[in-house]
């Protein structure tokens, strides 16, 4: 049997998820209107509205997140966007708390 192995060479060769994959979501504070719909609809209660410079902004607990992207769907301004980042495994849960910052993250998608 001379054929290519069925398995990939991860982690040496990184696998590329399909277009539209629901990875870690990125939040664009510039578009946020502080409506709180993302937090209200989140089935996993993983989004908390916290105050940043006097306005309520979403804080993401990615350790609780189920990556359903309901927040992205509920957002009226498309301030929550998809990336293909899936390597979120960590031994430190606090690193999975993503605070809303004024700097804009570059979306990996």
């Amino acid at each position: 049997m001379i054929s290519k192995p069925a398995t990939g060479k991860y982690p040496f060769v990184k696998c590329v998820p399909a277009e539209g994959f629901r990875g870690q979501q990125v939040f664009d504070i510039g578009l946020c209107v502080s409506c709180g719909l993302c937090s209200r609809d989140c089935p996993a209660k993983a989004i908390e509205m916290v105050e940043v410079n006097g306005k309520k902004r979403p804080l993401f607990y990615l350790d609780r997140c189920i990556f359903c992207y309901q927040c992205a769907e509920s957002c009226p301004r498309n301030a929550i966007k998809a990336t293909d980042i899936f390597e979120l495994a960590t031994t430190d849960k606090s690193s999975l708390v993503v605070k809303p910052t004024t700097t804009q993250k570059n979306s990996g998608a």
């Binding site: 998820p17 399909a18 277009e19 539209g20 609809d41 989140c42 189920i66 990556f67 359903c68 992207y69």
Partner: protein, 523 residues
Amino acid sequence: MPSNGIDILKILEDKLQNKPVQIVPGTLGTAAIITKSGSHRDVFQILVDADEKTAVVSITGIDLGENLGVYYHVRTSNALLTIQIEVPKANPTLASVNDITPSAAFHELEVTDLIGAVFEGNPSSGHFVLPDTWPEGVYPLRKDVNACEVKLDPPAAEEKSDDGKLVKIVIGPQHPALLEPEKFVVLVEGETVREVRPRIGYVHRGIEKASESRTYLQDVYLVERICGICNSCHACAFVESVEKILKLEVPPRAKYLRTIILELNRLHSHLLTLGHAGLEIGYETLFQYFWRDREPIMDITEILTGNRVISSSMTVGGVRRDLKETDIPKVKAVLSGLKKRLPFYVKVYREEPTIGLRMQKVGTLKRENALKLGVVGPVARGSGVDIDVRKDAPYEAYGEIPFKVITYDAGDTWARMNVRMDEVEESINIIEYALDHLPEGPFRVRAPRVVPAGEVVNRVEAPRGELFYYVKSNGTAFPDRVKVRTPTFANIPAFLTTAVGEPLADVPPNFVSLDPCFSCTDR
């Protein structure tokens, strides 16, 4: 189907003229039958005599304030009936129908444990779903109980030995041969199994109760997580129920897209279990082969939905994302690749001596027993019972797509696995047909968040068999009651009977042929 011509409502009306029974056609399935404790036994007797396919699908216990509602959901060959009985909370007893149709036994025990209705004639021996240390008289599905406040002692560590000549072998909850945790106590005499005692509930997460404190929108993602494998089926059954209450018509394109996703679910589930069966009989090459070919199916699920396992694609009013024209050739290429390999697998399952030796005449479930126990899905079809919700009560696009219902008559493990083997090909054909006939138009419509008061029942054919949902709305954004009956729950009684009298070594292949899913069973 020989009994398809039965007009069950007419028979009931004729025979129940002087009884305190009210028949309401068109609600809760084909009809709701409102009756009193006692008279419901007459109804069951008539149903069982009139139609051999009569079986209890599920029993919903519901807290109605002063009273407890006990709703028997009954399937006949061409109807789904709900027999509604109310009993006062102060004295919640009613007569069991276990002796008329044994398919009721498991469901009655579950209702006793979770909501506290007592079935005379089907005595419960301790807890059925809840932990052994759960306090007496606390019924978690009643509205006044907050399950978070219940304090539990740690469980007793070990199973006590039985005196006598039977040896007790405890399989589970944690056991190398089980992929999911559930406990089965097998009593053996020498090598022969004499009795199997199930103890379900190890991974009970209270999802039915949890859904009452979440909105309909959030519940879609919650029920989806009842089962990782048939996640789309759960989501679909739930959103269909909500759409029925809302009287919302889903666009045709959404129906086809849902059908494609549901069939992808079935494909990867069947390939998983066909491979897993190989693992259980020590045929690991087969396991690796099947799982290798399952992987491309996961990949196209990811292309279509955004995730390889939990698809999160269903929503009230349609599907969450459209299928891009450019993705259709990718999906078709994977399907035709799998189709090319299929003859090899079919040959292995039909002719390979290892499979024959370990699966033929193992765990034989005769047709009459399959009917009596009310088993569903490939387990029923492997015993020659041609039930399939996709044909019997078509939902989504299944009414417009041609496909065959696969049945085998042998009733053994081999037959059940071959039903699944043949269904793989049918599933591929269904997806290909749906892709070729995909209607144009919108893929979702807007749905209101607040659902008017009402109650519905709904069924879909999950990979493991008929999946049943009962949803009651009280006119808010939160459901009043969500009842889920998963296929494995209905199929476990088959294992309990077929394992008896067979060698212990035949337990694993017999068991895996049910394609058991315990996170489903326990909810």
